[in-house]
């Protein structure tokens, strides 16, 4: 599992420490990966600037995408139970 946002390395380090997260949290301050993946939400950051819309992809060993969830409402996110169900079925 890997997470991506536009937050800085320092912010991600604080977040990982506060929540005890052990998976990589990647810092895409310029929003390059977020744009390449087509999950950019322009001007959504207070004061302007692009951020990522909430989106989840399952990438297979051969590099293809086997599952994705792009929410239509950023208040409504995928539940952990749904993700665990997908991973269980994939294995």
């Amino acid at each position: 599992m890997v997470a991506v946002s536009v937050d800085t390395i320092e912010e991600n380090a604080r977040l990982a420490e506060r929540l005890g997260l052990e998976f990589p949290i990647l810092s895409d301050v310029q929003g390059n990966a977020i744009r390449v993946w087509g999950v950019v939400h322009e001007n959504a950051k207070p004061g302007g600037g692009a951020i990522a819309r909430p989106a989840i992809f399952l990438v297979e060993p051969d590099g293809t995408i086997s599952w994705r969830r792009l929410t239509e409402d950023y208040r409504v996110r995928v539940r952990p139970e749904e993700i665990l169900g997908v991973l269980r079925r994939a294995n």
């Binding site: 946002s5 990589p24 949290i25 977020i34 993946w37 999950v39 992809f57 590099g63 293809t64 208040r75």
Partner: protein, 152 residues
Amino acid sequence: MHVLPQHMRASPGPINHAAWVGPVISALGFITYFGVAVRFPDLRDSAVVNLALIVGGAAIAGWGLLRRRNWRSWIGFAAASGLALLFCTYIFFFTRHLPSPDTAPVVGGMAPPIELPDQSGRVVSLDGLRRMSMLDNPDGGRVLLVFYRGFW
């Protein structure tokens, strides 16, 4: 001395509770959505509990205004209905106003490469993560990639 007839005098009467109870309920519904409900997916996603409180508070304030049309009732109704309008705009329009995901990779398509620094500053690539998870589990090699809005 000229005295107004009884029915034209402002009667002190009982306090018009609806005029202040309505906006207080609306405000509670509004504040608890962002302060409490956002931590509980069931309350957050549908927002129905908070919506009922906020709109219900505005209805109570409206009833108070019908009972007594004074400036207090007007302020109470304006505050509660303003909150209701703001909240409805937020949950029915603002958070749903996302760009079209036309350029996002579809199921069956190839994952574009990623190479970014992690929380320790070490550069991590999606390919590298796939190989790593393959070492952990020869049948695995899958990567769950989570984009999120961030904390800024």
